[in-house]
Each structure stands twice: as structure tokens, then as C-alpha cells.
């Protein structure tokens, strides 16, 4: 008696293959892409895989949900890629609300012709980041757009977490007398990306800081310090994030330029291009606004964590009806640290 014949299917060609329109049209090709490229790598521990939605146990506490679309060029950069970025970015958005991140959903928009090998690398990187963070990807979606209508891969991730009652960290809670802490060197992600753009092409060893921050945040909570606001200063950098908080809380802020942690190579690259590191994106840093008396305790706790070793007190909160974020400059003068107005453009002179 002959054994059952194995279902005939040619496996995905992960070396030479490319994304085709069929991979998004709902047929067998799509099922194969999901099975062989996504599910096998992101392997969710939950039953009922293959359904239209993930079914998860109810959580205790209040739910926190955040969603973020990732469109980065280049897709691979020193220190990471769009895959781990899309996992860490959303974990951080959930975690800065004081929540424990539990699950992620991921949605991919793929451009026809995109190499499957690159896609596999990206999904591997997501899986690795999700495993390291202990936050599984439990459901997802793929769509394919025609060549020229996308930028290789766009990834949207949605994160769900729970926050205990009593932890009310929110952008409107900064109060006069609070102190401002940043968890480490600023501008590293943005400058790592910038240095990779072909039109600039300068050699540097700047590496993106992409990292999940919920471990650091747990250590901060454990310190018992009275934290009022946490936020990760991604797009628009530290300057823009502080302006958002100042407006939400109706307060002013004063930063000390000399206290800003800044890697020398980031400072040099910014200098070279005429950019201000305060406006350059971070992907693994947070800003904490904490009751003035608790600042030292919080800082000490952060210094104990690998992601907070270079945490620094950078300023304080005061009353200001105009909600200006200002800075005492390295020279001893004073300036506004304004909202970012459109993109930072390199200066001519």
C-alpha cells in the first residue's frame, strides 16, 4: 500500500523570489506566503490561527491600545531595520502610558517586486524583537500594491497592554517644580538613518537606538518615584515632544543645554549637516517628567538599567502662560526650543 502522497506545493523561493500581486489577492499564493513567511516566523502561541482575528484571554486592569505606521527609508540601517523598529516603537507607545504591553498586531503593505529574502529578514527581525520583549504578534494582515506605489514595505503595528489602577501617567500632568529626565543620548536613530541616505553618504559609526523600553519603565515604576509624564521622543525629537507636553499641561520648561546627553559622533554629524539634535528622532529613549523631590531617586533607578545608564536631568518645569520650552544655552544665553516647523532642512552656508 502506498503512503499518502504529500500535497504538492513548491515552497516559496526565499532566495530569488519576489512579492507578486497574487500574494495579496486572497488565493493560494497568499495563504502560502502567510504560512511559510509570516506564521512560521512569528509563530503565535494562541489556538485558532488562520481565523480572521485572535482570541485572547481577558486582562485585569484598564486596556491601553496604540497603533503606529512605520515607513522608513532605508529599510535596513545600522542598529536595526523596519521590522524590529515596528515592534519596539509600538511597545514603547503602550509602555510610556505605564502599561505592561501584552500583544501586538501587525499589518504589512508590500510593494510588488519586493525581494522575499528581504521580507524574510524583516519578519525574522520582528520575531526576534517580539520574543526578546516578551510581547507576541498575535494577528496580522498583508496587502500588496503595484510596483511604484509603495516603498518596499510599510508595517503598521498595534499594541495592547494593561495598566493598573492608580498609574495615571499622562501628558497633561506636568506641574511647575517638576524635573525633566531623558533616558540617554539623543538623536541617534535619526542620524543613523540620515547617514545611510545615498545622497549624503558620510562614514560614521552611529547606530540606531531602537529598543523596547518597557523593562526600563518597570524599573522606574519600582523606584516609587512620583512620575507625572512619560513619553518617547520619536519624530520631531526631544524638542517637539517637550512642546507637546508643555502645551497639554499648560506649563513652560527650561532646559540646560550643557546637560543634554549627546554622543560625540551624533553631535559631529548634526554639526556637519546643520541640524539640531533636539529635533532628531529617537527610537529607544524616553522623557520622564517627575515630581521635583523624586528626581534623584528616579535617576538613580534608571542608571541601574542597561537602557538608562546615560540618563540625565536636563531641565525643569515652571509656570508660563505661553507654554514656551526654553533653554539656557551652553554659552549662558537663552533661547526658545520651538516646535519643529516642517522638516529640518540642511542650511546652505
Amino acid at each position: 500500500m502506498s503512503p499518502l502522497r504529500k500535497a504538492y506545493a513548491r515552497p516559496l523561493d526565499l532566495r530569488q523570489g519576489r512579492v507578486e500581486m497574487a500574494h495579496g489577492s486572497g488565493g493560494r499564493a497568499m495563504a502560502q506566503l502567510i504560512d511559510e513567511l509570516f506564521a512560521s516566523r512569528l509563530g503565535s502561541p494562541f489556538p485558532g490561527q488562520g481565523n480572521d482575528a485572535a482570541v485572547l484571554p481577558a486582562a485585569v486592569g484598564r486596556l491601553v491600545v496604540s497603533t503606529d505606521s512605520h515607513v522608513v527609508s532605508p529599510l535596513f540601517f545600522p542598529g536595526g531595520d523596519i521590522g524590529c523598529l515596528s515592534v519596539n516603537g509600538t511597545i514603547n507607545d503602550v509602555a510610556v502610558m505605564g502599561a505592561t504591553p501584552l500583544y501586538l498586531a501587525a499589518s504589512f503593505i508590500l510593494e510588488e517586486g519586493f525581494p522575499l529574502a528581504d521580507l524574510a529578514r524583516i519578519v525574522d527581525s520582528m520575531a526576534q524583537a517580539a520574543t526578546a520583549a516578551g510581547v507576541p504578534v498575535v494577528t496580522g494582515d498583508t496587502k500588496v500594491v503595484q510596483q511604484g506605489k509603495g516603498d518596499g514595505v510599510y508595517i503598521t503595528t498595534t499594541g495592547v497592554g494593561v495598566v493598573a489602577d492608580g498609574d495615571d501617567w499622562s501628558g497633561d500632568r506636568a506641574r511647575p517644580g517638576d524635573r525633566i529626565i531623558v533616558s540617554g543620548g539623543i538623536g541617534e536613530h535619526g542620524m543613523a538613518i540620515m547617514a545611510q541616505r545615498e545622497s549624503i553618504g558620510f562614514a560614521t559609526d552611529i547606530v540606531s537606538d531602537t529598543a523596547p523600553l518597557h523593562g526600563l519603565i518597570a524599573a522606574m515604576r519600582a523606584s516609587g518615584a512620583d512620575i507625572h509624564v512619560l513619553r518617547d521622543p520619536t519624530r520631531g525629537g526631544v524638542a517637539t515632544t517637550l512642546n507637546e507636553i508643555a502645551r497639554q499641561s499648560r506649563v513652560g520648561m527650561m532646559l540646560q543645554e550643557s546637560a543634554l546627553p549627546l554622543q560625540p559622533q551624533v553631535a559631529a554629524a548634526c554639526e556637519f549637516l546643520g541640524l539640531d539634535p533636539l529635533y532628531v528622532a529617537n527610537e529607544g529613549k524616553l522623557l520622564a517628567i517627575v515630581a521635583g523631590d523624586d528626581a534623584d531617586r528616579l535617576l538613580a533607578a534608571m542608571h541601574q538599567h542597561p537602557l538608562g545608564q546615560r540618563a540625565a536631568l536636563i531641565g525643569s518645569v515652571h509656570r508660563d502662560a505661553q507654554c514656551f520650552v526654553q533653554m539656557s544655552t551652553c554659552l549662558g544665553g537663552r533661547r526658545i526650543v520651538d516646535w519643529l516647523s516642517s522638516d529640518q532642512l540642511p542650511r546652505i552656508c
Binding site: 502662560a321 505661553q322 526654553q326 544655552t329 551652553c330 544665553g333 546652505i348 552656508c349
Partner: protein
Amino acid sequence: MKFIDEFRDRELAGGLAAAIRQAARQQRDYHFMEFCGGHTHAIARYGVSDLLPANVHMIHGPGCPVCVLPIGRIDMAIRLAVDAGVILCSYGDPLRVPASGGLSLLRAKAALGGSGDIRMVYSAADALRLARENPQRQVVFFAIGFETTTPPTAVVIRQAQALGLKNFSVLCCHVLTPAAIASILESPRVRQWGSVRIDGFIGPAHVSTIIGSRPYEFFAAEYRKPVVIAGFEPLDVMQAILMLIGQVNAGRAVVENEFARAVTRDGNRKAQQLVAEVFELRRSFAWRGLGELPYSALRIRRAFADFDAERRFPVSYQAVPDHPACECGAVLRGARRPQDCRIFGSVCTPENPVGSCMVSSEGACAAHYSFGRFADAAVAP
């Protein structure tokens, strides 16, 4: 950072500030114009004004390359991209300068969708590279700037000729610093009426590395105005202010060079020769704020006519009046401060610039808005 931090040192700044306070005579005021946007930026970015005594006043000059670009010139660049269908390459700053019809290069790009091709480049060499990579497309480099950015433009024009490129040309809008200084000193406000007082100039940093300090000697001698050439770091600016006060107090008017680490009296001879080989003086050129100035700008010589976008494409300059409420012209002449303009910070903001001075962070209005407006009388938040 080595060779940078030394020029931003707080202690040295404190020492210089004390020396300036001591040198400045209490019974008089000092009005100095910093010519360059680079100086304007440094003063605002580092809060240099906070370290100066109340009787030392800084007036922002016209040396911001995108600020002096008239609307009609941006219109020409847009027409090249839209009507002639070229790949239009521009430095970053000019992309946001307002043009006619509510457009700017950035807005024109957005409005054109996939068909228009306006690209930001970091150097003239990038534009040349694009031309080589796209032999089937015409590529135009929108060349703007003072003497600092002119030699690189000359280099790519020569390279394009050597390569025999048929698809590369330059929309030349290079302007000359001495012409702008002369225009300010000759203006009735300064010369006859004295309504704008200028006791001396902080002379250009990067421009002077090319042209040297010699061209300013005429201004010092003819108009009796001291000139101190200074670097773009905040301590350079403070040192220059101290030197200017010294000259004014002593009744001297000469050219001094604070930026001796980069500027010589004769400048960069090789760059000057290169520029002279490729460019010649325009009979007249329209500046925003300063109007038509004779022999104040460069055009491409006939020997390189193939690479002159104004000859290759049917575009010509058409003067367009500035927005009636915009005071950029008076700001560029030093006659008004940014915060004196009626639309400053209300209608005209960095997000929606009405005038060119609100565009680049070197522009007087943008610098004051982004760094210094906390010092203005409180406005409704």
C-alpha cells in the same frame, strides 16, 4: 567636539561679555550690523544678545542667501520643473521660499504629484551626478548663494563641459556680498537721513574665505565704517563685537580679521580664478528687499552657454511684487526689526512663511521667531 566646543565655551563667553561691558561707553549706543545669516543664526541660537549690555545693538543684515532671492527667481525654477519638465535640483533651504500663486518649490512638487520632479540635493556635485544617471532627462541645478557656494557651481559647469553632457544646465542666481553692503551704505536711510544707524559691520565668515578681506577695505575707507570679519561660532561673534567697540571708541575705521584661522587678505585665489573663468558680472540683478542692484550678481559666460538654463529653456525673469504687508525688504536693509512687522508671528510663521526671511533659520524673522520671541512683549498664547 574638538575645534567646536572651544568656540562655545561658557567661561570664555563670560570673560568676553565682561570685556565688552567694560569697553562699551555708557554714554553712547553702538549699532552693529552682522551681515551674514550665519551670524544671525549664531546670535539667536546661542542667546548671544543676552550677554551683551543694553547699549550694544545688533542689526541683522541681508546676508542670508535664500532671503534675498526675489519671488520671480523661484517662479523661474518652478516653471522649469512644471513647463519644461526638467529634474530641478535645489539646496534644501530654497524649497520653502514663497513664490507666486501661493506656491513654493515644495508645494509645486506636492501639486505635481508623480510628474513633477523637484529634488533636494546637498551639493552641486549631486545635481551633476543625477544628470549622468538620467541621460534621457534634462537636469537643472538651481544655483543660489553668495561667494561661498559659487566655486562649487563653477566646478560642476566645467565638469559638465569636460564630460560633454547635453542634459545638464544651471539656473544661476549667485550674488555678490560687496554689492549688498554698498547698497546698504548708499541707502538714504544710512547715508543722508541717518535713520538707520550703523557703526560697524561684522564681516562675512565663509564668504571671506573665498574673496579675502581686501574687498571690505573700500567700505572702511570710503564710508568710515569699521569691519571685523568673524567666524560663525558665538565666541567669534562676541570677539568681533569687542573689536568693533574698540575701533569705534578709538575713532578708527579699518578692516580687522577675527577669523584669521580661515580668512586671509587675498582669499582663495584658485577659487576666484575658477569663478572668473566660468562667470561674468550681470549688468543688474533684482534682490528681494534691496531692489535692482547694478553689477551685483553673476551669470554664466558665453563660453559655457550650453550649461546656462536661462539660454537653454524659454524662461525669463519677471518681477513680482512682495506681499504688501511683508516687511522683509525693510528687515533686510536693517530698517525694521522682525518683531516690528505687523504680520510677524501671526500671519507669517515658519510653517506658513509670507516673506523669505521667515524661511531659513538664518533669516532674521525665522531666527527671532524660533529662538528669541520669548523676549517680546507677552502675546496671547
